[in-house]
Symmetry: C2
């Protein structure tokens, strides 16, 4: 099984490199959003898109086992979205994403947001060509998730602690959770947000704008090679 896994990941990495080159050529800032099912990814995305719509080009790739519910919700914000249904699959891979973003080939610059299948295990191993994996953890899920699913939190550059509006009704220790996340990824950035009441959204939007500014300041020739 090890040999098979390496073959699959090696093939994925070749597609991911091609995606990365294409994103660099178009000056796009690309995030791979990973979380458990029900962490509030899609609601966070729709709120984000509502604010950024008109400020920069936007495109979304939605991954789910079934349904196009999420792409429908995204399109309602005015942003173009492509839905990938993975069927039996527990994650997006770089090949799927490469085909999906062909639909956005007319866009230059701006933000490409890839919402992965809700799963804290499988998506960790698959590079899609993104700039950053962003892990979203709802405070309803418990503080221990970074220790129990370390691959995902190790792979993420930013942790969004979501649904903080529910903290008064929960036994959730924010500092302990952040400590656990930093045990598996010492330099992980953390933002506390609530898509529902808007808290922390400004810091998240600023983080997005800063990332896009960095990408825009990088000549394509200096971007990571394919």
């Amino acid at each position: 099984m090890v040999a098979i896994e390496q073959d699959i990941l090696g093939e994925n990495d070749r597609y991911a490199a091609a995606n990365r080159a294409a994103f660099a050529a178009r000056g796009q800032f690309v995030l791979n959003l990973v979380s458990s099912p029900g962490s509030g990814k899609t609601t966070l995305l729709t709120r984000t898109l509502e604010v950024l719509n008109g400020e920069m080009p936007l495109a979304v790739v939605e991954g789910d086992q079934q349904t196009s519910n999420d792409a429908d919700r995204i399109r309602a914000t005015g942003a173009p979205a492509v839905q990938i249904n993975t069927g039996k699959g527990c994650h997006l891979d770089a090949h799927m994403v490469g085909h999906a973003v062909e639909r956005f080939a007319d866009l230059t610059g701006g933000l490409v947001l890839i919402e992965n299948v809700g799963n804290l295990v499988c998506p960790a191993a698959f590079d899609l060509g993104e700039h950053h994996k962003v892990a979203i953890l709802s405070v309803t899920e418990g503080e221990d998730k970074p220790l129990k699913y370390p691959d995902m939190f190790h792979a993420a550059d930013l942790l969004l602690l979501n649904k903080v509006d529910l903290l008064p009704h929960l036994d959730f220790d924010v500092e302990r959770c952040i400590d656990y996340a930093r045990r598996v990824r010492p330099d992980i950035e953390v933002l506390q947000v609530s898509a529902r009441d808007g808290s922390g959204m400004q810091a998240w939007l600023d983080w997005l704008r800063a990332g896009l500014a960095r990408v825009a300041a990088t000549p394509a020739s200096e971007a990571p090679a394919a």
Copy 2:
């Protein structure tokens, strides 16, 4: 890839059949608990074990990518527990479980609870030899999960809607969620529970006792063959 998947599942099914025969020979009622990370499975389990301890033999198999946190929490209730760490793996398989329950070979009758890796995709395809898959869905996760992860809800015989104490603070439509679950599994049973405030726990405990009574009334010779 299809051929490989079938080989893996075929091998798993042979181990699952052996597990099923062993459980039948010992008169044990066996559940495979499946959910997203953070649905509250372990807290529900510890509350359940605290009540049933002394009433019937109990044994727990805990699956996580990393840590033995959950087995430690289970043992604190007095029930024996074995932790399986799956490393890169996103689900338990029947071979792992067969080895784990060897530790409980001295137990006869009662309840064997297998808490799978927190994941709404991968565990759906793997029979562990259990009597029932029980899906736990926290009301913080949103109503749409049965439609987005249909394999899991199709495979489950019982849906536990957990954390209902939080309903007053959420926009969650219980009836819609149950409707969605029944679209993918028309005869799924549903119980609304909160391990935190105890609501619905009596119905869940009665469901467990009734299942064990059915198993105890079935001669091993009439149990599903290996």
